[in-house]
């Protein structure tokens, strides 16, 4: 790990050095031994300050422990550990400064913050942990580091610092809000029935019990141990899950010169999508389709699982809105890819242009009237009954 050392004389140190120089110069110029003695005596602690800091920062290890994942506005606690590997020497007044910066765009670089933790003393062969905490209100990628370890011990005259290129990243997922009770009805009220009984793989169902083999049963379902014990084939019986599958089509639009409200709408829309996915992934087996018209379009489909959830959250953490004025045809095209049984929820940060959607769907020979489609305009009041941040 690269280390850079630096020594900086503090303001107090400058004053102190001036006093020492004045006393030594006065003593030498006037040839006064006692004044020279006093000057020498004052120079001792100064020199000690220069040496001690260098020694103190030598055999230590500093580490930062970030949480594996966090969400915007969630309380973030970062542990900073300092280990003193020395056999005898206690190190004093250690300050560790961490730099936190959100990875922004060229136009919108994130704010760079330096947050410090302080250790009054770390005994020999001891590890001390101090945390800094707070909130990161924006989703995205945050860079942590480098770490700067410094000490002003013993007299606060000189600051020795050690720069540790210990850089890490933390992906801050979108804020997860709360879905209202009405949300449950959104899917159920689907005219074509959003609740499907789809065939799933064997492992995607819950084990129910054992029964005798019947013709047509898969050989993979045979429970060999019980069959061997009984002398006849016995198969495992699974309970098919009833899933609430869903397709999310998102028009993440934002004008080039966005107002605060429009900026907030984008974040709200992303947060809503994240909340829906979070809700869906609470039970594995649900089938989700996510199509987002954004700066870089996103198209995902899969069965709800922690892995799926993590991947979608990661994607939502970085997604940026598009600035195209016309309704994105890709959403209409995506309707064709959605199984007809799936209800579609169309979320937009502007009033939905159903005509454009219909035309785009028609290009793929799909009639919207055959589909269960519900539109939510985040910029309007559509979201209020379902979702709260």
């Amino acid at each position: 790990m690269p280390r850079q050392r630096r020594i900086r004389i503090c303001r107090e140190g400058v004053y102190y050095i001036l006093v020492v120089v004045a006393v030594l110069a006065g003593g030498t110029a006037r040839q006064l031994n006692l004044l020279m003695l006093l000057g020498s005596m004052l120079a001792g602690p100064l020199l000690f300050s220069f040496i001690y800091g260098r020694l103190a920062l030598r055999r230590i290890e500093v580490g930062r422990k970030l949480p594996s994942q966090t969400r915007a506005d969630q309380r973030l606690v970062v542990d900073v550990r300092v280990t003193n590997f020395r056999r005898w020497l206690t190190i004093w007044t250690i300050q560790v400064e961490d730099v936190v910066q959100r990875e922004g765009t060229f136009e919108d670089p994130g704010e760079k913050l330096a947050v410090s933790v302080f250790y009054s003393a770390i005994a020999a062969r001891e590890t001390k942990q101090v945390s800094y905490d707070g909130r990161l209100p924006q989703r995205g990628r945050y860079r942590f580091g480098p770490l700067r370890v410094s000490t002003r011990f013993p007299l606060g005259l000189v600051r020795h610092s050690l720069l540790l290129e210990q850089n890490e990243e933390l992906i801050v997922h979108p804020k997860i809000g709360r879905l209202a009770n009405d949300w449950a009805q959104v899917v159920r009220e689907s005219p074509t029935g959003s609740q499907s009984m789809s065939r799933r793989g064997l492992l995607e169902a819950d084990f129910y019990g054992l029964r005798d083999w019947r013709p047509g049963d898969s050989r993979r379902s045979i429970h060999w141990r019980t069959s061997a014990r009984r002398g006849s084939f016995v198969v495992r019986q699974f309970e098919q899950r009833r899933s609430q599958d869903l397709a999310l089509l998102v028009d993440l639009w934002q004008p080039p010169e966005a107002t605060d409200e429009q900026l907030e709408n984008v974040e709200t829309a992303i947060s809503f999508v994240a909340t829906v996915i979070d809700e869906a992934c609470r039970q594995s087996g649900r089938y989700l389709v996510l199509e987002m018209a954004a700066h870089e379009p996103l198209c995902r489909a899969g069965t709800a699982s922690p892995l799926f959830f993590r991947e979608q959250m990661d994607a939502l953490s970085f997604i940026m809105p598009h600035h195209e004025p016309q309704f994105p045809p890709s959403l209409g095209h995506a309707v064709a890819l959605v199984p007809p049984s799936l209800p579609i929820l169309l979320i937009s940060t502007r009033p939905i242009d159903y005509e454009a959607l219909r035309e785009a769907a028609a290009e793929r020979d799909v009639q919207l009237t055959d589909r269960s489609l519900r539109g939510v305009n985040v910029a309007g009041d559509d979201l209020a009954p379902y979702f709260q941040v």
């Binding site: 120079a43 933790v117 302080f118 007299l155």
Partner: protein, 784 residues
């Protein structure tokens, strides 16, 4: 809460620092007023400002008060002389401290208090010369260091109580983003501080001690290296009384009271071998003569005639011993040493009388500490001689003066009838002829010293005023101090026609084994007798070693000898005496190597010995001849002999110095090597761990092993990440393994973070990796 704990301690230490500074100043100015006032101000301000908060000076009020004080002090100091001005400045610093004490305390206030006290110490250093300054300065260094330590801890700990993050670069959002939204979106982070443990106080004490000890090393090195070219010998201040030796060229019997039990130091003397320069202790007690008196009249001894002082003789005689003398400022010009003496080098401060009997310093140097080195032939084989060669035989009036006795005035009888009779009887009973001066003098000395008829006492004695004091001492009241003994012997000798005189000076002194010198105090004042022996009475065996025996000599006799020896032996054995020796040696070092360190002493006492020592030690280390000799000696000597030698020579400061220097050089080379290796980017071999401490490489090996089950092997051209992506693609192509496809990538990402990112995985991440590995191993291990 912990911050308050430090603040209380800090206040105490700052108060100690302030008091010590005023005490230092008080020692220099000979007044304790400032210290007392400071103590009062500290106590009052602690109560009304710090504890109860009833009275606090605002910043502006404090500024006005301080301005007023400065103006008043400047007006008053302008009419003072230099010393007074310095004291006024020091007082001004105290007044400013009082103003600060009544202000609310911040780290800045404490800094200002500390700096003001430092200014006072700086002024005190120009006023206080004594070793007490050194001791106080050490205390001040400790208190100051502890104060700064506490100040740092207090301010740092207070700063870190929920300290908000510092903005390094401001938010530069898009143009449409308002400040409100920017602020709303800005991260909010707070730094924290570790709670302090209760053991910090003890640790701080240790640290302060360590810093002070280290600082003292630096102090010593820097102080001794600073250039000197014109260090002035300190003058005793005009108001300071000079130390009195109680007698000079006139000794009146019964007036010795003022020097009795007076422990004031008169001088220190060190005897050094002429060739090696090594100090040694005399086998007998040294008799340091100041002057001689010959004329006795009415109970008082005086010199017959004064002679004009001359420069010291510089003709070298051998064998000789060097006398290194540090003389305190005294009220007399006489200096004390072993006679006969001659100068080793010209010294304009010293003079000797025409007869060579008296060493004096020039009048200008009486009020100064004088250090000088002269030689003497009066010491042979570490023992002071009892026979001192006389430059030239005494004749005529000079010899007659040594036989002077008080004359009987008209109408009076002989003042010493009893004394004459006692002397004559003593010789008669010993069948000694008074013409045999040597034997007669020894017999009379023995009579006073060892007959048991005369007793030593420093107590004032009642005397028969009708009689001469010496006659009374010899015949009636046989109790007295050294002046009675010596005076009586001189008179007894003269009564028998033997020329003699009384020598005045000091006997013995406290031998200091640390500094290898004698410390001579007032209470060591002594008188003894010098008997003149011409050629016919000289004991030739005493001068057998000399090429040309002298034509006349002085025989030294001390009739009070023995009495003081017992008292001094008892005095030197006590613990207190030992402690006093340490203190006195510290005083000597302070006087010579701190206050009086001048260019010459710096060169002779520090640079030259250091250079010689280092040179000799290096020679000892690298010279093949020396090593050959050493091995030869060791090889040829019995083991016991070697150990005997080793026991006496196991430590040499020069060798130690060179060894320490050599070790430092080695350490510097080692550090430089390490630094160079670091600078060249040599990677360290540090075992990176993850999660619960398992080596990180194991993570990747398990992944590779699991994938190998499916025939997936990393190509030499592939990185681990590329391999994971390729393996994920292969897994995704198989329906039953598709769910495992992202796992290799995720595992390798975690592996990269730990292996190359230098971080450790938290428990959740470690569990996820472990779970993914287990799933892969389980799924891929099954036959398909």
């Amino acid at each position: 809460m912990h911050s308050r704990q430090f603040e209380h301690l800090l206040r105490v230490m700052i108060a100690v620092t302030i008091v010590l500074a005023t005490m230092l100043l008080g020692i220099g100015d000979r007044t304790a007023t400032l210290t007392i006032v400071s103590l009062c101000a500290l106590a009052v301000s602690a109560y009304v400002t710090d504890i109860t908060g009833r009275f606090r000076l605002s910043q502006s009020a404090a500024n006005w008060v301080a301005l007023g004080i400065v103006a008043a002090t400047a007006a008053g100091a302008s009419q003072l002389e230099r010393h007074g001005q310095m004291v006024a400045v020091a007082n001004l610093q105290s007044y400013l401290q009082y103003v600060l004490l009544f202000q609310p305390k911040t780290p800045r206030t404490y800094w200002q208090l500390a700096l003001l006290s430092l200014g006072q110490v700086a002024i005190a250093s120009t006023l206080v010369p004594g070793p007490m300054f050194g001791g106080m300065l050490l205390l001040y260094l400790f208190a100051g260091t502890a104060s700064f330590l506490l100040l740092l801890l207090d301010s740092e700990a207070a700063r870190f109580v929920a300290r908000p993050a510092r903005v390094l670069s401001s938010w530069a959002a898009s143009k449409s983003t308002s400040q409100r939204l920017a602020a709303h979106r800005a991260p909010v982070l707070f730094g924290r501080s570790m709670p302090n443990s209760r053991t910090l106080g003890w640790g701080l004490l240790q640290q302060a001690t360590l810093i002070c000890a280290s600082s003292l090393l630096v102090t010593s090195a820097l102080f001794f290296l600073l250039p000197r070219w014109n260090i002035q010998n300190r003058q005793v201040a005009s108001g300071e009384a000079l130390r009195s030796v109680g007698f000079a060229k006139k000794v009146t019997l019964g007036e010795l009271g003022e020097v009795v039990n007076n422990a004031d130091v008169v001088m220190r003397i060190q005897f050094l071998r002429s060739h090696s320069g090594r100090p040694f202790q005399l086998l007998n007690e040294p008799l340091l003569r100041g002057t001689v008196v010959t004329h006795y009249e009415n109970g008082a001894w005086t010199q017959t005639s004064a002679t004009s002082p001359e420069p010291l003789p510089d003709e070298e005689k051998s064998p000789f011993v060097r006398q290194h003398i540090w003389a305190e400022p005294l009220d007399v010009a006489e200096l004390f040493c072993v006679f006969p003496m001659f100068a080793l080098q010209r010294d304009s401060r010293l003079r000797v009388d025409a007869n060579g009997d008296e060493l004096v310093r020039q009048e200008d140097y009486r009020s100064q500490h004088v250090e000088f080195e002269i030689a003497t032939t009066g010491i042979i084989e570490e023992k002071q001689r009892h026979f001192l060669p006389c430059e030239a035989p005494l004749k005529g009036r000079a010899k007659a003066a040594l036989l002077q006795m008080p004359v009987a005035h008209p109408g009076q009888t002989d003042p010493f009838p009893g004394l004459r009779e006692v002397a004559a009887r003593a010789l008669r009973e010993a069948n000694l002829d008074p013409g045999d001066h040597l034997a007669a003098a020894r017999k009379l000395n023995e009579y006073l010293h060892g007959s048991g008829h005369y007793f030593y006492s420093l107590e004032p004695q009642s005397r028969d005023t009708a009689l001469d004091p010496l006659e009374d001492f010899v015949t009636t009241h046989r109790l007295g101090h050294c002046e009675y003994f010596a005076g009586a012997l001189v008179m007894m000798l003269r009564s028998q026609g033997i020329p003699a005189r009384m020598a005045i000076g000091f006997k013995g002194g406290e031998w200091n084994p640390l500094g290898m010198y004698y410390q001579v105090q007032q209470l060591h004042a002594h008188t003894w007798v010098e008997v003149y022996l011409d050629a016919e009475h000289l004991p030739r065996e005493e001068f057998a070693s000399e090429d040309t025996p002298p034509e006349a000599a002085w025989m030294v006799l001390d009739p009070t000898e023995g009495v003081q020896e017992k008292a001094q032996a008892a005095q030197q054995n006590g613990l207190l005496a030992r402690a006093w020796q340490y203190i006195d040696y510290g005083h000597v070092l302070w006087t010579n190597y701190v206050v009086g360190l001048n260019a010459k002493r710096q060169r002779q006492g520090i640079y030259e010995p250091l250079a010689q020592g280092v040179g000799a030690a290096i020679e000892n280390l690298v010279s093949p001849r020396v090593w050959q000799d050493r091995f030869r000696v060791v090889a040829n000597s019995p083991v016991g002999t070697f150990w005997e030698w080793y026991r006496d020579h196991w430590f040499s400061w020069r060798g130690g110095l060179v060894a320490a220097g050599f070790s430092l050089v080695l350490a510097a080379l080692y550090l430089a090597g390490r630094w160079a290796a670091g600078a060249l980017g040599r990677p360290g071999f540090r075992r990176t761990r993850y999660g619960d401490g398992r080596p990180v490489l194991e993570m990747y090996r398990r992944l590779e092993a699991a994938l190998n089950q499916q025939g997936l092997k990393r190509q030499p051209s592939q990185t681990a990440y590329e391999f994971a992506l390729a393996a994920g693609g292969d897994l995704a192509e198989k329906i039953e393994l598709r769910r495992l496809a992202p796992l290799p990538r995720r595992i390798v990402e975690a592996f990269y973070r730990v292996r190359f990112g230098g971080r450790t995985l938290d428990n959740l991440e470690a569990d996820a990796v472990e779970h993914a590995l287990a799933e892969l191993e389980h799924a891929l291990a099954r036959p398909r």
